[in-house]
Amino acid sequence: MSCTLGEVKNRADFIIYWGGNPAECHPRHFTRYTLTPKGKFIPRGRKDRTMVLVDIRETMSAKAADIFLQVRPGKDFEMLSILRALVKGQRVSPEGVAETGLKLEQLQDLVNRMKAAKFGVLFFGMGLSMTRGKHMNSAAALTLAAELNAFTKFVAMPMRGHGNVTGADVIMRYTTSFPFGIHMGRGYPRFNPGEYSTIDLLVRGDNDATLVLGADPGATMPKPAIEHLKRTPTIVLDPKVTHTSRLSRVHITTAATGITAPGTVYRMDEIPLPLSPPLKSPYPTDEEVMRRIREAVQRKEPWYPVKSDAPQMV
């Protein structure tokens, strides 16, 4: 369940940030969409909105929050499960709640506020999706928001970073029906995060070449993945020299999107925004490089099919 940031601005009267620090990492988020702006159904702006921050430490964003809930590190999944139980009116033991570093009254109050909201939004960040439990933490946040729709309008949205990741997800989704972790080896898309997702492939060393486009895995990925990038041919397309280009076989300098190259970028709420570059670049765009690689690959001989009378698999 999701919506656009325009809807958040015009309608959302209850906002939760979970495991993120928007004051420092998304500095314009508060003022443009979620807190201060006056919206069509939020005539008084900040006064009409309630903001809750859930994080493991008191960050800069806590100053902007009406309620700050400090959860113990690694207890997000437990806290979300408790909230799901409380939303349904289930009993939860106070000792179990104490494990999360919070009190039952605090969580019950949060649930009451969530249910009473006219339009609630749950933004979750890397503090939730990249800690122990990973995809299940995100799944818990998304399920909680989905279940709250039995009482009121509630949406969940991940806080994205690093340029155009949303764009990559959106394009993959409408071309293959899956957002990431896709295997095309059989001529049709197969989806299995954990098996085909980038980090897992690299850590196990299942691929024999890598093309890096608009990312810097050499700076962020675990050591075995970086070692594999070094061992096998890696090609990087980037406007500047990155950690990954230092360990790659080939680095192709491309024009910087939005500055010297046109294109479309997807905002975190999946709204496409066209870019008109103010400057010119001597370098080709990412798109042009990819098109030329594709043309060269298409000129090559195709893989030979097996000549066999044996029964084919179903």
């Binding site: 999944f77 437990e78 499960s81 408790i82 799901r84 139980a85 349904k88 289930q90 009993r91 939860v92 033991s93 000792e95 179990g96 709640v97 494990e99 999360t100 122990r132 439990g133 299940m136 095309m184 080896g185 059989r186 001529g187 989806f191 299995n192 995060p193 954990g194 098996e195 060393g205 299942d206 691929n207 024999d208 893989w303 099919p305 097996v306 066999s308 009378d309 044996a310 029964p311 084919q312 698999m313």
Partner: protein, 269 residues
């Protein structure tokens, strides 16, 4: 018996669902050698990777380090596969009958969505044992998976029926979103056991760190365990059930769903 020996370990995973008794039974050796396997996107012959001896039948032995060989015994309904060495991903996925035995370790997705038959792993197994595939509502719906070593995360995710027994330690999210069936943990599990479970039984011989959404129901010695322990003993897993030895502490949950699953944790006297 048909014996296949892996010639060398490939870099890229080999997708070999041809390694299945249903496929191999009744084929001549020449036809077996020509069966297609996929290396990346290249379709190649089975004898490019395996030296093949014996005759086609329902009894297959595969030798070598098969960590990169995926889909062994996919959808098998009969016969026997013995892997002498390690096995790769999706071992026995969708299997309906027959048996698979691994002398070494196995990796992720062992017995994914299986509905019958048995898998025995002498070493360690990876994550997602007897799991539902992505987007699927139910995982394993029958059969038995026995692991002598440890197992990874999300053991028996969304399983509906069947039995998983693990002698070694198990990692996070064992019995995640479980809908039925039985999981036996001889050495306990790490965090979040039985998260979001709806029904089903998880039996642990060691204390568990429970989610706050599980609540203590009672201490007792369930009748069915007396019968079930006989079945488990035949499979080489003996669990105590006598009232003189101790009791089982029963926890119900997961209240987040809300579900009626049960966690039975052994309390020795």
């Amino acid at each position: 018996m048909l014996t296949l020996t892996l010639k060398e370990l490939t870099t890229v995973p080999l997708e070999a669902e041809a390694l299945c008794p249903d496929m191999l039974a009744g084929l001549s050796l020449e036809a077996i050698r020509a069966l297609p396997v996929l290396l990346g996107k290249r379709s190649l012959r089975l004898d490019d990777f395996f030296s093949i001896e014996g005759e086609g039948g329902e009894d297959i032995e595969i030798r070598g380090d098969l960590v990169k060989v995926k889909w062994i015994g996919r959808g098998m309904t009969r016969g026997r596969i013995r892997v002498v060495g390690n096995a790769g991903m999706h071992l026995g996925a969708y299997m309906k009958g027959g048996s698979i035995e691994v002398t070494g370790n196995a990796t992720d997705w062992v017995g994914g969505e299986m509905s019958g038959g048995s898998i025995h792993i002498a070493g360690n197994a990876g994550g997602q044992l007897g799991c539902a595939y992505r987007g699927s509502m139910s995982g394993m719906s029958g059969g038995t998976i026995l692991v002598e070593g440890s197992a990874g995360i999300e053991l028996g995710m969304r399983m509906k029926r069947g039995l998983i027994a693990v002698r070694g330690p198990v990692r996070d999210f064992a019995g995640l979103q479980m809908k039925g069936g039985t999981i036996v943990l001889m050495s306990g599990a790490e965090l979040r056991t039985g998260a979001w479970m709806i029904r089903g039984t998880i039996i642990s011989m060691k204390p568990l760190r429970l989610l706050p959404t599980f609540s203590h129901a009672c201490d007792y010695n369930p009748m069915f365990l007396g019968v079930y322990s006989k079945h488990l003993a035949k499979l080489g897993f003996s669990i105590p059930h006598d009232v003189h030895d101790g009791t089982y502490r029963r926890y119900t949950g997961d209240a987040a769903v809300p579900g009626k699953g049960e966690l039975l944790v052994w309390q020795p006297r």
